[in-house]
């Protein structure tokens, strides 16, 4: 899986960010190479979603450097510069944030037609292809309010992919999905990575992280505590904290027991 060029497309250096009094990021350093998939794992509230929002210039850190494909994201001054960045960097939100007033199809088609100027017919064709991939063809004309949680999540994935971004930030995109659908989404993303897309994934699904990533990053309390290949993180367990974290479901009381599936 490692036949990719090795230039960094994303680089975070000493990124600090607070919301008011709450320090959320306390010095994040992270490098993602083009064509790679990096997973971010870590406890709830440790700042994973915030990292993704920094990379996409949705929030601006108080300190530190963020570079995405040569662009200094933290120094973007004008809106048009940010837009140029965001056209290249897609994001799928943890809470989907679909547009409630548009049908599934329109949710997907809106950005390509309005921003990239793709013809409606062409955009629709792509949208239907993507819907097919996430198994939602029959919901094309439903409104978000009429979808189940997992269906909404898949629409959100399709919406981001419709922009054909170079880099996609996935924020827990499989959280509402059953194992089978997770498997399908995994294949969709894997195909795209094979075609040269880079992706950063926040996930709580260790299996998913393991399957998809070139690198796994562990965050805690706004810091990156460890990183490495999935092999190192999940199996070598040289970091007892990660060992405890990953084994959490077994309650820390018996990793031994939880070998289950």
């Amino acid at each position: 899986m490692n036949m990719k060029t090795d230039d960094a497309i994303v680089r975070l250096e000493d990124v600090h960010l607070s919301f008011g009094q709450t320090e959320v990021l306390r010095g994040i350093d992270l490098t993602v190479n083009r064509g790679n998939a990096v997973s971010i794992i870590g406890p709830s509230g440790s700042g994973k979603s915030t990292i993704l929002r920094c990379i996409n210039a949705l929030v601006t850190p108080q300190r530190g450097r963020i570079t995405v494909g040569g662009t200094r994201v933290d120094q973007l001054a004008t809106e048009s510069e940010r837009i140029a960045l965001r056209k290249r960097v897609g994001i799928v939100f943890q809470q989907y944030n679909l547009f409630p007033h548009l049908t599934v199809l329109d949710n997907i088609v809106l950005a390509p037609t309005r921003i990239l100027g793709v013809a409606r017919g062409e955009a629709e064709k792509l949208a239907r292809e993507l819907l097919e991939k996430v198994r939602l063809s029959e919901k094309a004309s439903a409104y978000p309010g009429q979808l189940s949680g997992g269906q909404q999540q898949r629409v959100a994935i399709a919406r981001a992919l419709a922009m054909k971004p170079e880099l996609v930030l996935f924020d827990e995109v499989t959280s509402a999905l059953d194992p089978e659908t997770v498997g399908e989404v995994l294949w969709v993303i894997r195909d795209l990575i094979r075609d040269g897309m880079t992706s950063i994934l926040v996930t709580h699904e260790m299996r998913f992280a393991e399957e998809i990533s070139d690198t796994v990053v562990f965050t805690e309390n706004g810091r990156i505590v460890d990183d490495g290949s999935p092999e190192e993180i999940f199996h070598a367990f040289d970091n007892p904290r990660i060992r405890q974290f990953v084994g959490g479901l077994a309650g820390g009381r018996g990793m031994e027991r939880g070998e289950g599936i």
């Binding site: 949705l58 837009i83 056209k87 994001i91 939100f93 809470q95 679909l98 950005a111």
Partner: protein, 263 residues
């Protein structure tokens, strides 16, 4: 529970709505038939009243159209991050929303001449246009506030989602935020329309022959007390006939925007 409220009075409601529509005219008709001399007076005066009402219709619709367009833009500009843009707009909204309509309309007679000279010809500056401007100004200030409020009531996550896809601020507004604002600003917009329409009776101040003034002229000329009362009812029926269909339309639109679009 809200969904219930939306699909509200269906069958019996339909009947009710149409009764509401016909009640005032029916009352006028019945009374005129019961007292034929009164009916004759009324029929005699109807053309005069109608010619007055035409001005109300023209003024209210033009003022509201103008006010809505300007107001929506100003509502958006009130939220722009650049102070040199925002402050004047906020000041405009405050000043003109707060000023009584009476004063604004009256002021237009001072600001605009009654006629303009073009190549030696005296072209009258139409009085109704003054009233339109005098009312469009407060209408735009009201609409601006409504728009601002609606935009601020949309969850931030919608902006983020839009930005995340690469929408610019104005594109996000145009395609994502404003469409969602529409439903929640329709009812207050209708309130403004109604208020502005009722404000058209101030147009007599700038010399426009409008319905309420026409009704007073009629009552003065006829000098019958029952005619004075029925003239009031005619005035109410006329305004109702103008506004109510628009109110119905806005409610239908509301319902259409509602269709399935709620998370």
């Amino acid at each position: 529970m809200t969904t219930v409220a939306l699909s509200e009075p269906r069958k019996s409601g339909h009947l009710l709505r149409n009764i509401g529509f016909a009640a005032l005219p029916a009352l006028i008709l019945l009374w005129s038939l019961a007292d034929l001399t009164l009916g004759r007076e009324l029929v005699e005066w109807l053309p005069y009243l109608a010619s007055g009402f035409l001005m109300n219709v023209v003024i209210s619709l033009s003022a509201m159209t103008l006010g809505t367009v300007v107001g929506t833009v100003f509502g958006i500009l009130q939220l722009v991050p650049y102070r040199p843009v925002r402050y004047p707009v906020v000041a405009y909204v405050q000043a003109f929303r707060n000023a009584p309509h009476l004063v604004l309309i009256f002021a237009t007679t001072y600001i605009f001449p009654f006629e303009i000279v073009v190549f030696g010809n005296y072209l009258p500056f139409p009085d109704w246009l003054k009233a339109v401007i005098g009312l469009a100004i407060p209408a735009s200030a009201y609409v601006a506030e409504i728009t601002r409020g609606a935009i601020l009531s949309i969850p931030t996550t919608q902006w983020e989602a839009a930005k995340g896809l690469g929408f610019s601020r104005s594109q996000a507004l145009r395609w994502i935020i404003l469409p969602q604002c529409l439903r929640r600003s329709l009812p207050p917009w209708m309130n403004i329309l109604a208020s502005i329409t009722m404000g058209t009776s101030l147009a007599s101040l700038v010399g426009v022959h409008e319905l309420l003034h026409a009704a007073t002229d009629a009552s003065t000329a006829v000098r019958r007390l029952d005619f004075t009362i029925i003239a009031y009812i005619v005035v109410m029926a006329a305004f109702f006939t103008l506004c109510y269909p628009i109110a119905r339309l806005t409610r239908r639109l509301e319902r259409r925007f509602n269709a399935g679009s709620r998370i």
